[in-house]
């Protein structure tokens, strides 16, 4: 069975500072990896995903994540955060299949301070 561990429950950071949200996964088979973001009182939205090819994937708002197969990690980074990035971030994994159950990590709350 797959599992996802997000190593930090809360990450406080000042505006314009860099940030890294850590995610490790466990699976005996190949997986797809996702990061979702949840703004207050909203549903989740896809931020970015890794399916195959280049191990570095980017989102439209400046986040990037790197798939590291040897370390089974998919850490999320941003070189300079904004107040508007304050949200909860979820790492998730799905095995390659016709059904596909997405398994989420516990979530990391990013708090950007002015």
């Amino acid at each position: 069975a797959q599992s996802v561990t997000q190593l930090d429950s809360q990450v406080p950071v000042f505006e314009e500072a860099p940030v890294e949200l850590r995610c490790n996964y466990s699976s005996s088979v190949s997986v797809y990896l996702f990061w979702y973001v949840q703004y207050p009182n909203q549903g989740l939205q896809l931020l970015l995903k890794y399916l195959s090819g280049s191990t570095l994937v980017e989102s439209i708002n400046g986040f990037e994540a790197e798939f590291n197969k040897s370390q089974t990690s998919f850490h999320l980074r941003k070189p300079s955060v904004h107040i508007s990035d304050t949200a909860e971030y979820f790492c998730a994994v799905s095995i390659l299949s016709n059904t596909g159950k997405l398994i989420f990590g516990q979530g990391t709350t990013l708090q950007v301070k002015p």
Binding site: Q42, G43, L44, Q45, K49, F90, S97, K101
Partner: protein, 115 residues
């Protein structure tokens, strides 16, 4: 576009009562999912469906039931509400399923309290 619509947004139940959380999507997606979100626990999959007439259990199905009679609708039934079912429930849909790398589209959630 409405996307994924969940009703009700808020509900308070007494222990032992029953209710149905409604979920409808207008994107003609085959795949639909129900998750519950509890603080510090992330999202746990309750049930999912890969098409009309087909449903399967997720990680935490006990105490819940689902049906999928149409592509658009995927209601979640709580038969005998218990305090442990106090949570925020999210419905989601996907065109190709996450097992093929597809994106999940989420509703805004239904906050349920069982007293």
């Amino acid at each position: 576009n409405a996307g994924v619509t969940q009703t009700p947004k808020f509900r308070i139940l007494k222990i032992g009562q029953s209710m149905t959380l409604q979920c409808a999507q207008d994107m003609n997606h085959n795949y639909m999912y129900w998750y519950r979100q509890d603080p510090g626990m992330g999202l746990k999959l309750i049930y999912y469906s890969v098409g009309a007439g087909i449903t399967d259990k997720g990680e935490v199905p006990n105490g819940y039931n689902v049906s999928r009679s149409t592509t658009e609708d995927f209601p979640l039934r709580l038969e005998l509400a218990a305090p442990s079912q106090t949570s925020v429930y999210f419905c989601a849909s996907s065109h190709e399923g996450t097992g093929k790398g597809g994106e999940l589209f989420f509703g805004e959630g239904s906050r349920l309290t069982v007293l």
